[in-house]
């Protein structure tokens, strides 16, 4: 629905926000994005996992295999201390960006 580049620019912020409060596995993250955006945003396997691996490589999130009784093991991602700082900075940046765009385009929240 949204422009691909626009989605790409916000993807990191979305994922970091979703693992802020609790560790989540990839499928859980993709469903949450879809549900909370009411279907406007959707990440498939090919786009979501490279992003998760990139964030992990940067040390912003950390993946860990977790086994629970009666279930197959899953890889859960949690926010690292470094990731928490990055998330705060990205939130500030995003807010500033949206406000600036709004000021220029005259778009106001209804």
């Amino acid at each position: 629905m949204f422009d691909r580049e626009l989605k790409k620019g916000s993807a990191e912020l979305l994922i970091l926000s979703l693992v802020e409060d609790q560790p989540r596995h990839g499928y859980d993250i993709s469903k949450l994005i879809e549900r909370r955006s009411e279907g406007a945003l959707r990440f498939n396997v090919a786009s979501l996992y490279p992003l998760l691996y990139r964030l992990e490589k940067r040390g912003w999130i950390q993946g860990r295999w977790v086994e629970k009784a009666g279930q197959r093991r899953r890889r859960y991602y949690r926010l690292t201390a470094e990731g928490r700082k990055v998330l705060a900075a990205q939130r500030r940046g995003w807010l500033g960006f949206v406000e600036a765009i709004n000021r220029i385009t005259g778009v106001q929240r209804a």
Partner: protein, 391 residues
């Protein structure tokens, strides 16, 4: 799910990822697709629709491969060329170390077993070397240790012999005194006997290693005090008349924090109060192999220190190790030859007290006094440990 694994594996094949990493990615992605299929089925989708939707997830697999190629550092497989000088030694070493650490991290159980095995191996070797060093290599930390000799007298020892190793190296106190007074070869001859002590003081009781010693012990070894005094001839005046003790430097530090106030204070040892009159100099570890006494007590306190067994004045109680310092002019062979004329009259004087048969008498009187090198200490324990150390 297995069919998704094959699909994903095919798409990742060109990446040449490390096998474990590839397996992890395949597992994670196929789980995602499996979850998606389950969700679609439960919402009423047909099998065909489900499969189509799942494949849609992989529709941009070129993007997936492209992104993963950028993120995952694949292992570069270079041909091994023997003798090649390419690359730096430090760089290769660093790479090897990182690889080793990664491998160890992957299998914590293997790492734990490997570390434990190494620790036990190093520990056992260190302990064995320490023992070998003490028993076979290290000289006693005393003045001119090469002048010291250990006395032995193989043959019948009527009565009781107390030793953990070589019976021939144990002598009675009366014989020691006779030999000390009547010989031409020693600048000094000392006697010692190890024992365990219960030491009470400062409101607590604890075990300590003690040593009953002749009054000339420190003088013969050339060991000076770090504090107070060491024993003098007066400290061997009469049985039970010398309630004093000298502390090792290590014990003084460990138990009393180098407090000089310990001097001239009584400590209860095996139930008898003994006054601490001095502390031996640092580095002195006694005259016996493999044993470091904490406290030295005059030999005349025998009855008080071993209340169940006195035997101090009994020529049939053989319990003392004797260590002599040769006069400068004597070689060991000369000293040994000279000693026999001093030893025989002592044996003759003891004979009536021994109560042995005629045949036994002859063998008793034929006993010789032998001299062994004593630079590594007395034999109370060394004979016992020497062979295993050599093996």
């Amino acid at each position: 799910m297995p069919e998704w694994q094959d699909e994903i594996r095919q798409r990742l094949a060109g990446l040449k990822l490390e096998a474990t990493r590839e397996a992890e990615i395949v597992e994670e992605l196929s789980q995602h697709l499996g979850d998606r299929c389950t969700e679609l089925r439960s919402s009423g989708a047909t099998e065909e629709e489900t499969r189509h939707a799942a494949l849609e997830e992989l529709s941009h697999s070129d993007l997936l491969v492209q992104e993963l190629k950028r993120i995952e550092r694949s292992v570069t497989l270079e041909p091994i060329t023997f003798g090649s000088s390419k690359g730096s030694i430090m760089g290769d070493l660093w790479q090897d170390i990182r690889y080793a650490l990664r491998m160890l991290q992957k299998d914590p159980w293997f790492t734990a077993v490997a570390v434990l095995t190494l620790a036990l191996g190093i520990g056992a070797n260190t302990a064995l070397f320490s023992l070998t060093d003490q028993v076979l290599l290290r000289l006693l930390p005393v003045e001119r240790p090469e002048e010291l000799v250990v006395l032995r007298s193989p043959g019948p020892n009527p009565g009781h012999t107390w030793s953990d190793g070589d019976d021939a190296a144990m002598f009675s106190y009366p014989l020691y005194k006779d030999l000390r007074e009547h010989n031409q070869v020693f600048a000094g001859l000392l006697a010692c006997f190890p024992l365990s002590l219960n030491v009470a003081g400062q409101g607590q009781t604890e075990r300590a290693d003690g040593e009953l010693v002749s009054a000339n012990y420190f003088e013969v070894l050339g060991v000076r005090p770090a504090l107070g005094r060491v024993f003098t001839p007066e400290d061997e005046a009469a049985p039970g008349a010398n309630p004093v003790a000298v502390m090792s430097r290590g014990y003084w530090t460990l138990r009393f924090g180098n407090d000089p106030g310990v001097l001239n204070k009584p400590l209860i040892m095996n139930g008898t109060p003994l006054t601490v009159v001095g502390v031996a100099r640092a580095g002195f570890t006694g005259a016996q192999v493999g044993r470091v006494p904490d406290l030295f007590i005059p030999i005349t306190m025998k009855a008080q220190m071993t209340p169940n067994w006195n035997g101090l004045e009994d020529p049939k109680d053989h319990w003392l190790a004797l260590l002599g310092r040769l006069k400068p002019d004597f070689t060991r062979a000369q000293a040994e030859a000279g000693l026999q004329s001093d030893y025989r009259p002592i044996l003759q004087s003891e004979l009536p007290l021994m109560k042995i048969s005629a045949a036994g008498e002859k063998r008793f009187l034929e006993k010789r006094l032998l001299i062994d090198p004593g630079a590594r200490g007395a034999r109370f324990f060394s004979g016992m440990h020497r062979s295993p150390c050599c093996i």
